[in-house]
């Protein structure tokens, strides 16, 4: 009876207040640390932070840009969160998302170019989700049949996807009408999601938010969510209760892949339209970080996704307004991340 109890994220419902404290500390501590960095760069932190805030809320266009970035980040976040709830780790949201993006482009260019948007866009998005699911199925197979560590296989599969995209855009799907640049052809006009006036944002941000809310609801309130949390909380307890642990885990993982893939499809049909070597890079990782920082709470991940997306978007405008390189915002993101992980660790060791 002296067994030490470790509380796993899967079972406990994060208490909102604790998570909020974490998020606040995760904002203010890094702001302090980043100020030191800014001072070493001979920048006035106040100017920089004011520029950031101005960017966050400065213009309709900027808000739209944040929404555009946030859509795939939210979905990739769920791709990390859902498997985590059943005790699996999916670091492959990045690759699954890009798989969706690539597939949406291929399907858009080669199959749907003659179709009206109402038909073509759903086909593209469905194909993207299917691609994400299949890309997740490979590490899942390695896990279930070959007992390979899924954290490693999913992470590595991202790099395979990077190379696969490079191969595709340099070869098979290179736009023959282009100037021999390593880019695919663009999807037809009618396959592009219509943007809100004055922005590049579109209705898909609401779809992504809907997916997050549904995820939150399923885990917090439904019988299915209860069973899944049981599996994540104590696998043996779920086995002793007769739950099909393996089956549930497989489905959770595949659905996660599909959601990430969908995110990639949305990126393709709303802003990118064509595939280049680095298209949609880092969105999956941002989503992974956002749920990590949110401590496994889908609702909190909306705020963390917003924050990370805003920093990512505003990095560019920082460069314009203050002369800092845009990579400075990556440093700020890293500081936030390390702070959050530091806080989390400190608490567990108590």
């Amino acid at each position: 009876m002296m067994q030490k109890m470790t509380v796993k994220a899967g079972a406990d419902r994060p208490e909102i207040r604790k998570v909020l404290m974490r998020v606040l500390a995760g904002i203010f501590v890094p702001i302090g640390l980043f100020s030191i960095f800014l001072l070493t760069q001979r920048q006035n932190p106040l100017t920089v932070y004011r520029a950031l805030v101005m960017c966050f809320a400065g213009s309709k266009y900027n808000v739209g840009e944040i929404a555009v970035e946030m859509t795939p980040v939210l979905l990739a976040g769920m791709a990390a969160l859902i498997p985590a709830k059943v005790g699996l780790s999916n670091c492959g949201g990045e690759g699954q998302l890009i798989a969706g993006c690539l597939t949406a482009n291929i399907v858009g260019v080669y199959l749907c170019s003659g179709l009206p948007g109402v038909v073509g866009i759903p086909i593209m998005l469905a194909a993207a989700a299917a691609a994400g699911l299949l890309w997740a199925a490979i590490p899942l197979f390695c896990k279930m049949k070959l007992n390979m560590n899924e954290t490693l296989t999913t992470l590595l599969s991202n790099y395979i996807m990077y190379k696969l995209v490079a191969y595709m855009v340099f070869g098979p799907i290179k736009d023959t009408a282009g100037n021999n640049y390593p880019m695919s052809a663009r999807i037809a006009e009618q396959l592009r999601l219509p943007a809100f006036a004055g922005t590049r944002a579109n209705v898909m941000i609401f779809a992504a938010l809907f997916v997050v809310v549904i995820t939150a609801f399923v885990f917090a309130k439904t019988e299915l969510g209860f069973k899944l949390r049981t599996i994540g909380g104590n696998e043996r307890a779920a086995e002793f209760a007769g739950f099909s642990v393996k089956k549930a885990r497989c489905w959770a993982f595949l659905i996660a892949g599909a959601i990430a893939g969908l995110g990639g499809g949305i990126v393709m049909s709303s802003v990118e339209f064509q595939m280049r070597e680095a298209t949609a890079h880092d969105l999956g990782y941002l989503g992974f970080l956002a749920t990590g920082i949110a401590g496994g709470s889908p609702i909190v991940s909306i705020f963390t996704s917003f924050l990370l997306s805003a920093l990512s978007v505003c990095g560019t405008s920082l460069e314009i307004t203050t002369g800092l390189r845009s990579s400075a915002s990556t440093i700020l993101m890293s500081v936030i991340l390390l702070t959050i992980f530091g806080l989390g660790r400190g608490r567990r060791e108590k």
Partner: protein, 518 residues
Amino acid sequence: MGNVIMRAENLRKVFGDFTANDGISFEIETGKIYALAGENGAGKSTLMKMLYGVYKIDGGRLFLDGEEMTKYNPSVAREKGIGMVFQDFRLVPAFTALENIFLSTDHTGEIFRKKELRKKVKALSEQYSLHVNPDEYVWRLDLGQRQHIEILKVLMNENTRILIFDEPTSVLSPNEIDAFLKLLTVFRDNGFAILLITHKIHEIVQVADVVHILRKGKLVHTFYQEEGFSEREIVTKMIGDQDQVEKEELIHVQAVFTGKEDTLPPDIDDRPILTAKAITIRDDYGRPIIYNADFSVSPGMILGVAGISGNGQRELTEMLYGIRPLSSGKLTMDGEDISNFSTRQRLDLGIRILSEDPIRDNLVPGYTVLEHMAISGFTYKKKGPMIDWNDLKEQVEECEEIKELKVPDVSRKAEKLSGGNIQRMAFARAVIAHPKLFIASYPSRGLDIATVSAVHETLERLKREGTAVIFISEDLNELFMMSDRLIVLSENSIFGSYKPSEFDSQMIGEVMLKGVKE
């Protein structure tokens, strides 16, 4: 004549409010084999880890060569000549034996002088006939050879005078065990002191010069070779006889330590609900822990399962419940072959279990008692896709078994409960559904007297209602009091079943030790 190397005075180790070791005193001389015997959980491993400096000593004093150890840790222990051969081998499978040995030597930063080391390893291997090819990769070696590497690692330290073995034979095959015991005597004759932790008594009897018996964290008895000792004496001390059992455990004092009256209909054995034919079950290492054994249990019967712990109790219950595969043989319930049924299917057939460790097998961190009742046990109503928690709460609170067993308030977080309360929760949950077959592993463990009798009454009631109960306990007294039939796990087999008129403590003790049917 040996010299005293180590002396322990009143050693004590506490984990939270649990006392794992208390008042332990002994001496260790060179050229002797000391056995430390006790059941699982008696505190053997804790004591070893204290002697090796892994655990801080919470009370008492430890002397090495007459010098009191104040700042004690494993590197001091090694320096003073104490070597520990770990039970869970700490080897890198992708490295060769030689590379693993090099890893463990204390020459940090030194060049890996392969030739020199190989020479030394070969010399040692030959001296003690440890058959290890230094250039073989560890993943290719069997468990016995891996153990030899562990031993070599310890011997490479030239200071080593005391060798500590923690359950060394648990991973070995019978042939390897014989060779290992012989090896121990070779070490002894070479002037090493050996400290052997084990719960396998016949091994002790073969080699030990001194046997310390540990029970509930205390040294309860010491046997010396000169005075002679028998397996039975050791077992009696290990499991404790009636006089020594503490008062709170004397639940129902029985004048004679024999079985109860046989009140069952004479033909009950002919109508079993569950039959196991020629079953073989493998342990976590893939070795058969129960081999080619038979037993059956009938409705309205309590089938007691006796045996020294570690003889397949856990593996048997997990197999019956569908958590562990049946390696060979056939399991039938109501005439249907259920050998390959999933846990879900077995639950649907009315099989329920109380696991030997509800914290490990049932507890979900963060969940309340109510939520644990929803995982299994109760059938809840649903509101659309949601669970109707209010209705479930009413059901649980009105449930007789829950009240009778004093299950704590349903809104409490289960992980915050004491071990006894978690046991209550798990037990109540398993019996609520009026199972057809109930597998109860150590149901009274960690409970107070009142609850223990409630547990016993519940088992009796289930039996009256026609449940077949498989009842596993380490307390012979309790087993004898409750069992209508008794089987014994021993020597990788199942002995029995015996009727109450056929058994007494002496005879069952014998079977537990040697598996002889008399």
